[in-house]
């Protein structure tokens, strides 16, 4: 199947657009998770493509660990304004202040896992029944198993051994009150597909994705950015390097990679010859165990 002309949507775009429309038609209260990271930015652009010339008919939500890159926050606010969407911020700090969760401490601590409680609380408080996530099946082996419509029970849990069959493009949106579905329109996209979309559709991104000079230090053979939220250990020394981020989570769990990719074309070229997966290269949280992601997802993580 080839597309008829330059104004048409590509097969992967069409698949994602179809999913956005299907959810908007069948759910009462969808929300799109938006971190300002590239996958969520691509999602927002696809959502706009799905409903044009009308506005995106649901709000977006940022689960904010408080440990953000400043560039990312500026980008988030600028984007929200440009798209005219409603932004909901679910704050991990607030969950800590309210005693819902205990903050972590220590040089190696990260609030990454704490986000699950904040996320589930926000879903319940707002009554969201469909939550769009930017997860892709090529990212990680547990994600590779997940359906496009992924059911979560009232505790937000995923049951990987008992997933609903998902045939053709007929999606089952039914759920009980208090349950919700996670929806993954980018399921079949690869990292390279994301970058090719960004290039073809001229999608603006946070500057962190492009090569820049930055103070970093080396930990577990990854380059961590020197920042106020990460305590350096004895023997760790900072130095300046030309780096970029392949993924962006919060500052405590996302590492940079050395790169001279200053433009989108450079990045597409770099990505097509990459020998290490993006999460393998940059995510401290995925290195914990053989089934780290599966365990987190079961509990309701993104």
């Amino acid at each position: 199947m080839s597309t008829s002309n330059a104004l048409s949507s590509s097969p992967l775009e069409s698949e994602a657009i179809t999913i956005f429309r299907e959810v908007a038609a069948e759910f009462e209260r969808p929300v799109l998770l938006f971190s300002g990271g590239k996958d969520s930015v691509v999602m927002l652009h696809l959502a706009r493509r799905a409903f044009a010339p009308a506005r995106i008919p649901f709000p977006i939500m940022h689960v904010d660990t408080g440990h953000n890159f400043a560039e990312l926050m500026e980008f988030r606010d600028r984007t929200v304004e440009e798209f005219g969407v409603e932004l909901i911020v679910a704050s991990v700090q607030q969950s800590i202040d309210e005693g819902r969760i205990k903050d972590v401490s220590g040089a190696r601590s990260s609030r990454n896992q704490l986000q699950t409680v904040t996320l589930l609380d926000a879903i319940a408080a707002h009554g969201f029944d469909a939550v769009f996530g930017g997860g892709r099946r090529d990212e990680e082996r547990a994600r590779a198993k997940e359906r496009i419509y992924s059911h979560r029970d009232e505790f937000g849990q995923w049951d990987p051994k008992n997933q609903r069959p998902e045939l053709w493009s007929l999606y089952n949106s039914r759920h009980r009150r208090g349950e919700h579905l996670r929806i993954f329109p980018l399921s079949n996209w690869t990292e390279l597909d994301i970058w090719e979309f960004i290039r073809a559709r001229e999608v603006p991104l946070p500057s962190l994705y492009f090569a820049h000079k930055r103070q970093v230090f080396s930990r577990d053979s990854m380059l961590m950015a020197v920042n106020e939220h990460v305590e350096m250990l004895d023997g760790e020394e900072s130095f300046e390097a030309t780096v970029r981020f392949r993924t962006i989570g919060d500052t405590t769990c996302t590492a940079a990679v050395e790169s001279a990719a200053f433009t989108i074309d450079d990045i597409v070229a770099e990505t097509s010859v990459a020998r290490i997966t993006e999460r393998g290269a940059t995510r401290a949280d995925d290195r914990v165990s053989e089934a780290g992601m599966e365990d987190r997802k079961r509990k309701g993580y993104f």
Partner: protein
């Protein structure tokens, strides 16, 4: 942006058939495994005391699968060569996970069924091929694996080909290709085998790269299920009213005379929009083809809503409340019992339906039709008659996989309990 559709293909089988080895070999020899993934697989294999690298760990991503050494649910893998990009739906082969195999195979253009050259066509081969046939997968590859263990014997290969061809006469398989391989050694997977110079066909990867799928699209019967009505309610687009969706078949062009079902009212297509055409200020795109997400404007102000179907006046789907279908039962908690009412999703239309009659249960190993059956349990397939509360607009599944398919949902458990393939003729 990559304009070409990735080839979606399924691999069906169990670890014993060498399925994981085949995928591992395909990814490894086409240089699609990332270093950290390979390191991970090597480390885990070593930790378990294996004396070889277990490539199954690449796709068996769930804890339970790794513990038991089996594939339980579909895993999706992605790779590209300079010629094409691919989505692999790696499906379980065990009979108790048939519903997961059906999930994986329902969307693919091609399926690969593995045969162990030592054992030839076995019960499992018949079951997998039957499901591939029922699901209307357009292309089938029979990978005769472990040729190294039968001395790369051409006669053995030909014997298996005959066995399969004999049995497959009863199935509806359009395009079957036989390839002798050894996934373990690497013969004819990516690189041509030096051990089987009698084989003159393509290697497995070569076949995947060149199989022609564009002709599988049905470009004749125009079918546009309305998915979503776009009403901007903004000053700039005050009177805009568009019908968003994806053509399930056929190409739609501005000026085409169309009919909207169920009303049967006719009008013409005023224009077809995409985000890009609107942004560029273009009146309409030239045409919408199957699979392309678009928004259609109609010349007349008709009452059209989600679940309606736009088609051509002289080529309409069947409008009916009475259906015949092959269904695969997928619920582990309850069996299909006639006269229970389910939610039925068909294209973008949701109705309620009940099975009024179970004509027979199909033994998926022997293809025997058991007409005395009174119910279907998990993973069983049968021929049923259904009655829906409202008309649906259907085609035979063999003519159109989208307008010919539906799912049934249990209204109390909310589980997807069946997948159905509509039969309009008496076969």
């Amino acid at each position: 942006m990559r304009r070409r559709e990735p080839l979606r293909f399924a691999t069906v089988g169990s670890v014993d058939d060498g399925k994981s080895t085949l995928i591992g070999r395909l990814l490894h020899d086409s240089k699609s495994i990332f270093e950290d993934q390979l390191e991970h697989v090597e480390a885990v294999s070593k930790k378990r005391g294996n004396d070889y690298v277990d490539l199954a760990l690449l796709t068996d991503g769930l804890r339970a699968e790794r513990e038991q050494g089996i594939t339980i649910d579909v895993a999706y893998r992605y790779f590209s060569t300079p010629h094409r990009s691919f989505i692999i739906a790696d499906c379980p082969g065990h009979i108790q996970y048939t519903r997961n195999m059906v999930t994986g195979a329902s969307t693919v253009d091609l399926a690969t069924v593995l045969i162990d050259a030592r054992h030839g066509v076995v019960e499992q081969t018949r079951r997998h091929s039957l499901l591939v046939s029922l699901l209307g997968v357009p292309h089938l590859v029979i990978a005769v694996n472990k040729m190294d263990l039968v001395g790369y014997d051409q006669d053995r290969f030909e014997e298996i080909r005959e066995q399969f061809t004999d049995f497959a006469q009863k199935l509806e398989l359009r395009d079957v290709t036989f390839i002798p391989i050894s996934a373990f050694v690497g013969d004819n997977v990516v690189d041509r085998s030096a051990n089987m110079d009698w084989y003159e066909g393509s290697t497995y990867l070569n076949h995947l790269e060149s199989v022609y799928v564009a002709s599988d699209d049905n470009l004749i019967d125009v079918r546009f299920p309305v998915q979503y009505v776009v009403r901007p309610h903004t000053t700039e687009h005050q009177d805009y009213r568009g019908y968003a969706g994806v053509p399930a078949a056929g190409a739609l062009k501005p000026g085409d005379e169309v009919v909207v079902l169920p009303s049967g009212l006719s009008t013409t297509i005023a224009g077809i929009d995409t985000y890009d055409s609107l942004a560029a200020g273009v009146d309409t795109i030239a045409e919408a083809r199957p699979g392309e997400a678009v928004t259609i404007r109609l010349a007349d102000n008709l009452d059209v809503s989600r679940g309606d179907m736009i088609c051509r006046p002289h080529n309409r789907p069947e409008v009916t409340q009475d259906l015949e279908a092959m269904i695969c039962w997928m619920d582990s908690d309850a069996s299909l019992t006639p006269r229970t009412i389910y939610t039925m999703k068909h294209t973008t239309r949701t109705v309620r339906a009940m099975v009024t009659e179970l004509r027979y249960r199909l033994d998926i190993n022997t293809m025997h039709r058991d007409e005395s059956a009174t119910s279907l349990s998990l993973n069983e397939i049968g021929r049923v008659v259904l009655r829906s509360t409202e008309p649906v607009f259907v085609d035979d599944y063999r003519r159109n996989r989208q307008t010919g398919s539906f799912i049934l949902i249990d209204e109390s458990s909310n589980q997807t309990v069946a997948g159905g393939m509509i039969r309009l003729t008496n076969t």
